[in-house]
Amino acid sequence: MAKILIIAEHDGSTLNPSAAKSVACAADISDAEIDVLVLAADGESVASQAAEIAGVSRVLVANNAANEPALAVVHAPQVVAAASGYSHVFGPSTTWGKDLMPRVAALLSVNQISDIMAVLGSHEFRRPIYAGNAIVTVTAPAESVVVATVRTASYKSAGGGNSAAVESLELDVELPTHTRFVELQSGSSDRPDLQTAARVVSGGRALGSAEDFEIIYKLADKLGAGVGASRAAVDAGYVPNEMQVGQTGKIIAPELYVAIGISGAIQHLTGIKDAGTIVAINKDSEAPIFEVADIGLVADLFDAVPELEAKL
């Protein structure tokens, strides 16, 4: 039997949606018993949200003031202590999980499987390499614990309605003080979260300026969509880094993705290929984005986008 521990990401009050996706991945392993670990300052509320996820047996909460704001160097030794007796330890392939899980793996003396996109067996998985240009089947050593991150865009959230047991956990671990959180610079937005939105509208370099990017926001608001951007638009300073979609930004899987003025570099396409329907609006009929688009419109975005917004 597989005993799987999922490390839950949260912001102190709300469980990150990646947890329910990690549970969905773990549930693909046959005969799995799935527990969730919440490391928090005061994790009762987050734990009760995790307890609702279908398929979860127990939620373990370890409270410690040092756990927030989250630092990988503080969390890692606690995860290692909590992981004793588990055959698998999974985290999400968010920036938080990518920072934390390899540190956990090294402390457990194992390599990590990054970005699970499919489960083939208890120790056998598929993952993307070369920016998604190849998919490889990987097998972890049978005798050691499997530490992995889950490519959240490959999974639909496990359902709700559960009421798993919540237990508090005392972890007697020495925590380092060599790393100190200073601040988080974050643009607050009332729009749907890019990583979980059912609809996303993204703009590229062709927008030309931060001012002109405004038409992307207007269209997104009409559609009730989250807003993303290509790397070129972020590099050019039109929008902040957290809006970048693609290999080195966010990998997303909305039902509808609208790419506007984005040529479609492979690094961008990697971030959207799990989208339900891809719409592309671009002046250049040869742009690679049209190779993956379900619906393409060759047009000047400054004509087409306001017209589209008016028609919705």
Binding site: D11, N111, Q112, E183
Partner: protein, 249 residues
């Protein structure tokens, strides 16, 4: 500090469109252009800037890989690194082995800072820096887009899902570079000539007392699933119609 170590990996060039071999045993690398992994190049550029700002006495580029990786180390020397160390290995070592080997060099060189790319663009693991920091018992600041070194501490701005996170770390420590940290310099021809005279030391994993093992085994390689070909609509009205047809409006 005295020494910054920069890990660089020989990887398929960023501009190569990688193809899976028809028999599924790997990806085609014969005759393909190889370069320094771009994130590592950014890490090296940052180390060179720290040296130019007087924060370190020397920059040493290190790599684990085949003897051909000397080419990438020479490029690193041409960019401005002072010396290079190649740990020769025929197999592509996995992150935990890399971290163990780098730790030996960290101890040998008494490094004050290790800079690495956040991931390589071939295996896309994003693990080595974190693993090195873990085994070393020192801080890690991953996905850096800004670094200020001030004496024994560094203030690092990290690109995270929620925005930009700023952390202070005590040195020594490990920092991994993200794309927007800097734009690496171009190498000039005279620098390539000069780099040929800079020291490049080679050793083996065994020389360092590191044994590879516990590896994750890769078996079948396959191309990604293609999306089916879509339609091109004539105008905005056609786009709205197509979206309605799919039940998206």
């Amino acid at each position: 500090m005295k020494t910054i170590l920069v890990g660089i990996k020989r990887a398929v060039d960023y501009n190569v469109r990688v193809r899976v071999k028809s028999d599924g045993t790997g990806v085609e690398t014969d005759g393909v252009k190889m370069s320094i992994n771009p994130f590592d190049e950014i890490a090296l550029e940052e180390a060179l800037r720290l040296k130019e700002a007087g924060r370190t006495e020397e920059v040493v580029v290190i790599s684990v890989g085949p003897s051909e990786a000397q080419q990438q180390l020479r490029t690193g020397l041409a960019m401005g690194a002072d010396r290079a160390i190649l740990i020769e290995s025929d197999d592509a070592p996995q992150p935990l082995t890399l971290a163990r080997a780098f730790l030996k060099l960290v101890e040998k060189e008494n490094a004050g800072l290790v800079l690495l790319g956040k991931q390589s663009i071939d295996s896309d693991n994003n693990q080595t820096g974190q693993m090195l920091a873990a085994l070393w018992g020192r801080p890690q600041a991953t996905s850096a887009s800004g670094i200020e070194v001030d004496g024994d501490t560094a203030r690092v701005t990290r690109e995270v899902d929620a925005g930009l996170e700023v952390v202070d770390i005590d040195l020594p420590g490990v920092i991994t570079a993200d794309l927007r940290l800097n734009t690496p310099r171009y190498v000039k021809l005279p620098d390539i000539m000069k780099a040929k005279k800079k020291p490049l030391e080679t050793m083996s994993l065994a020389d360092l007392g590191v044994e590879a093992g516990g590896d994750i085994v890769s078996s079948a390689f396959a191309p990604p699933e293609e999306r089916s070909k879509g339609v091109i609509v004539e105008d905005v009205a056609g786009l709205v119609g197509a979206l309605k047809e799919k039940g998206l409006l």
